[in-house]
Symmetry: C2
Subunit: 304 residues, 2 copies
């Protein structure tokens, strides 16, 4: 890493706003000074810290889990959702997204992989991350945005506790968060499979059930789960979609000096360009004067 902070960011209003905010809230005597205990930052993951296109990383990982199950039990090959996974029929899954039934899809996937122990889940996930590649050719764990990783580092150096707050399964992200973001497992908040404590012959284990711990971690679920995990509102929020709107409002309602950073995907040469799913938060950021990253304009490089 370069010694210059935010080295992958181009000089300009957004980079200046970030450096200025951090200076204001950490300079003793500044009217915006925040004691370290109040320096809480929450980052969305998909589309904010790493690439979410063409599909969420978790979708690829879940398909892999279904294929492995169907290999172990061939009778599943003609049963949905396993059949669609084995035949690589993405349309089956995308239909849920198109019909705005994503939570239904999540429940279906969670049900289809229930019964694994937590240790089995983690071993499978680590193996998948070690070899699975994004369509652009890199490992999924290498699809992180260099400028955002530098921003996490800047905040941590300024005594912020930085949390990930993702709609995806928190257990999946926890497998790589320390390595790729230097964010420890306990600072990853996400949607979560309900676990059960089971006494078995070889000793007790945690088993993954078919239930989801409420609330699902998007929209109003994000502030609720931030309160659950952190116990106070964030003062720095980074996101990229309407699912992040409420946690940005949570920071704005904290009564503390805050910065909301919206990553706008404008770069179809180096990444993807799209507004879909971010229409409401883009409008709110404009009317509230929140900080909007124009990827094509503000980032010197996208991936590390």
């Amino acid at each position: 890493m370069d010694d210059k902070p935010l080295a992958s960011w181009r000089d300009g209003a957004v980079r200046n706003a970030l450096l200025d905010y951090v200076a204001r809230v950490t300079t003793p005597g500044s009217p915006d000074f925040l004691p370290p205990e109040q320096r809480i930052a929450t980052f969305d993951n998909d589309g904010t810290l790493w690439c979410e296109r063409p599909y969420y990383t978790q979708v690829y990982s879940a398909l892999n889990a279904l294929v492995l199950r169907a290999e172990a039990d061939p009778s599943l090959r003609t049963v949905q959702p396993y059949q669609a996974a084995v035949e690589n029929d993405l349309s089956f899954f995308l239909q849920f997204v198109a019909e705005d039934r994503v939570q239904e899809l999540v429940h279906l996937l969670v049900e289809a992989t229930a019964g694994e122990t937590q240790a089995e889940f983690e071993a499978r996930g680590e193996e998948w991350f070690a070899s699975a590649r994004h369509p652009l050719g890199r490992l999924f764990s290498e699809m992180t945005y260099a400028p955002m990783v530098e921003l996490v580092e800047l905040l941590q150096a300024a005594e912020f506790r930085v949390f990930i707050c993702t709609a995806a399964g928190m257990d999946l992200v926890r497998l790589v968060a320390q390595r790729i973001y230097r964010i420890p497992r306990e600072n990853v908040i996400g949607s979560n499979v309900m676990l059960a404590w089971e006494e078995r012959e070889g000793g007790p284990v945690l088993v993954r059930t078919a239930g989801i711990v409420p609330p699902f971690n998007e929209n109003g679920g994000k502030p609720v789960n931030i309160q659950l995990h952190v116990g106070r509102p964030p003062v720095f929020v980074a996101g990229n979609s309407d699912g992040d709107l409420e946690m940005m409002r949570f920071a704005a309602a904290s009564g503390l000096p805050f910065l909301n950073l919206l990553v706008h995907h404008t770069d179809d040469e180096r990444e993807y360009a799209y507004d879909a799913g971010a229409e409401r938060v883009l409008a709110l950021a404009a009317s509230e004067g929140w900080t909007v990253v124009d990827m094509a304009r503000d980032w010197e490089r996208v991936f590390a």
Copy 2:
């Protein structure tokens, strides 16, 4: 604080076991060395970090909440559980405990105070902690065990992340954890009221509902919620009752060098002496060779 570590502990096998464990897992090259990311400690609160007799601190706090409600709305004075609180009729509440229906009591209390915003809850709780006194005469927040606070400090200095894992409501404990234990809010795990995100005229708020986030944080719920909040098993566990048995088994099943510390209440001169509710874990600690604190013998002083 004294410069000597664990200054309030008497020399002996228990103090030695604590110092020896910390040395073994933090000395590079030691066969028991643990990298800092695996140094997770979880402490029960009631009866482990602070006094739980004659009743849990949360019971006193909940009674106060009921009385305040009945003062604001006198029609509640003849409705349970408000009436019992107003009349200071503890037998109403203790009957639930006697009949092993504690979770039912918790639901009743949560229901009776539902509708408060999180900010209102925190303001009320802080006010209560500022003045409410334990029957022994001290503020409730001063009923902490000096030897255990020193132990938290020893572990933190050795790069452990120390968590509280309490069956009580986590929001109550979070109000004082930083001040009395130097444990930040986000490191407090407990039973938890389900929150709702509500848009109001003055802006969004978090509202406390009548629901409890599953699972209730005792017995098998403790390992489940440790996994939820931390993402890995603890290697150091302190507890004092059967409700802590499963999180001790979680540490023992981790495959890592662990220490389970059971606080045995043997001191009816300086505190209270009782085995009730700890019968199973005392037997297990004996058979497994876990470390048992004899308060009367091992602690030079009890309260700070």
